[in-house]
């Protein structure tokens, strides 16, 4: 152990460069789309460039070639290994699994001042509209064209959902729309991405009427490049 740590002397710039490479690679490979919201992404890319420059400068000045306490070199080695693992193992979150541990999300803007035509509304637009004006009669028969992932709801049929993210995956909260899935066919698997075309309908449960999507066409769709909404 001691020998292997001793050979790490002078590698400080490389450890710093690893963190920089991780940030820059995550930014350039669009992997960040699965981790953080778009406004934060340039900051992360810039931080990666700065770290790489500092690593080069540090190595150029020969500052890393000092004796280091063993605990400190072990700590940097561990950090470097984590950075390497993050470079090699891309994030592949299960949105449905993540949503299951979160409460239902509330929108930043619950009152609507501008409403898109029905056929152009995204799933988030629909949820926002239904929360601002929940009377299902207002939307009965309106065309619906939405996409999202299948969210398992305990004790109920699955919903089509999206994740709302303000900063990073840690603050993701799900919003979903109920769907009347075609009878006689197996329910879709959780986490699967689907595009649905249909109309908005009305369903009564527990003496209360609420809107739900009546699909005419359900087709699998790839996960969007930027899957989060805000």
């Amino acid at each position: 152990m001691g020998k292997s740590l001793a050979t790490l002397k002078g590698l400080r710039g490389i450890y710093l460069g690893l963190w920089g490479a991780l940030l820059l690679f995550s930014y350039s490979s669009e992997r960040l789309n699965l981790l953080v919201r778009a406004p934060l992404q340039p900051v992360i890319g810039l931080a990666g460039v700065v770290l790489l420059l500092l690593a080069g400068l540090d190595m150029g000045l020969g500052q890393g070639r000092q004796r280091l306490p063993r605990r400190e070199s072990a700590s940097w080695l561990l950090g470097g290994m984590v950075a390497l693992a993050m470079l090699l193992l891309p994030p592949e979150p299960s949105f449905s699994d993540l949503a299951a541990s979160r409460g239902s999300g509330q929108m930043l803007q619950e009152e609507i001042s501008f409403v898109l035509p029905a056929g152009q509304r995204s799933l988030t637009d629909w949820v926002r509209l239904l929360r601002a004006a929940p009377d299902p009669q207002l939307y009965d028969g309106d065309p619906v064209r939405i996409s999202g992932f299948v969210l398992a709801v305990p004790g109920q049929p699955p919903q089509l959902a999206r994740l709302l993210v303000r900063c990073c995956l840690a603050d993701a909260t799900p919003i979903g729309l109920p769907v009347r899935w075609p009878p006689g066919k197996p329910l879709p698997k959780a986490n699967q991405w689907l595009a649905i075309e249909g109309v908005m309908g009305i369903e009564s449960s527990d003496g209360q009427a609420h809107s739900l999507v009546l699909p005419n066409r359900i087709s699998p769709t790839p996960r969007p490049k930027r899957p989060f909404e805000g």
Binding site: Y15, W19, L22, L40, I44, L54, V82, S101, G103, N191
Partner: protein, 318 residues
């Protein structure tokens, strides 16, 4: 743990860590600049040491660093190492994550319909900073600060303030890292210290993010929100949630928006004022500033002050 859960935990870990690293870099950058421009403390030692004025001055410095809690730790550490009064440094450490323009703007954007929150959040952050600064003053520096920080602080304090035994370097023998050349090495030394500090803090951040991501994925949030309308329990559960989720103070108001309607006003405030001071992610970073005993005192003191403030808010608002 199933494969999906493991993959989700890994992704949340990456999101937390990658989102925090730029702010850590900003904090270390500011700390390095302070070291470069004022290597021996200088004007920092003349900041107010008064138990009231000190924390207020430290809190006001938060407006100069619009970053969340990860970036504040290296700057607060540099303030202490340079010999700045503890009261100012702790005021900065504990209040600045809330008292900065980005956090105040995001609180306003998330809760325009709750004007009392826009006032209560910064005021409560100030109250916490004042209380913690007063509490931690009771401990002697040797029981308060981590060994390395204590040594560095003593090197930068006037000779008259310390005995030879307390000051382990700087008078006899070599300084820990002697300057090699007069001008070029000043910048190189500051860079070297900054790189070292960043690497140390990055590893600590890895631990904090790993624990936070595990807890986030394994503990359903609904468990903590189930006691939403019970005055005291709701505050306690939201305090726990704030510690566990470990999101940046600049966005925690948007996260709170998701459950604001289901919890008491005091619980909502508890989430917004405790998280910026104590969470699983920042606790690991505090290890470079405070000894374990002082850290435990900080956690306990913060919890009591937050609970008292938020109980009072519940009495007033409910």
């Amino acid at each position: 743990m199933g494969w999906d859960k493991l993959a989700t935990t890994w992704a949340v870990f990456q999101g937390l860590l990658i989102g925090a690293l730029p702010f850590l870099l900003i904090g270390v950058g500011i700390a390095s600049l302070v070291r470069w421009f004022s290597p021996a403390g200088g004007w920092l030692r003349r900041l107010p040491a008064d138990p009231l004025l000190g924390p207020l001055t430290g809190a006001a410095l938060g407006f100069a660093l619009p970053a969340c809690e990860c970036g504040n730790v290296p700057v607060a550490r540099r303030l202490i190492a340079s010999g700045a009064p503890m009261a100012t440094a702790f005021g900065f450490l504990f209040a600045a994550p809330v008292l900065n323009p980005i956090v105040l703007a995001s609180t306003w954007a998330a809760f325009p319909d709750r004007p009392w929150l826009l006032l209560a959040r910064p005021l409560a952050a100030l109250a916490i900073a004042l209380a913690l600064a007063s509490l931690l003053r009771l401990l002697p520096e040797a029981e308060l600060l981590s060994d390395e920080l204590l040594e560095e602080r003593r090197l930068n304090q006037p000779l008259g303030k310390l005995s030879l035994l307390e000051r382990r370097g700087g008078l006899l023998g070599e300084r820990p890292q002697p300057p090699i050349g007069p001008q070029r090495m000043a910048a190189a030394e500051a860079l070297g210290h900054g790189v070292r500090e960043f690497l140390n803090l990055a590893t600590l951040l890895v631990f904090g993010c790993a624990i936070a991501s595990l807890v986030q994925t394994l503990v359903p949030r609904s468990w903590l929100l189930a006691v939403g309308d019970t005055p005291t329990l709701s505050i306690l559960s939201l305090m726990l949630l704030a510690v566990l989720v470990s999101v940046c103070s600049s966005v925690d108001a948007f996260l709170a928006l998701g459950f604001a309607a289901h919890v008491t006003p005091g619980a909502l405030l508890a989430f917004l004022i405790l998280g910026p001071v104590i969470d699983l992610k920042s606790l690991s970073l505090f290890g470079v500033v405070l000894r374990p005993g002082a850290l435990a005192l900080t956690v306990a003191g913060t919890a009591v002050v937050v609970l008292l403030i938020c109980q009072w808010v519940n009495l007033w608002q409910l």
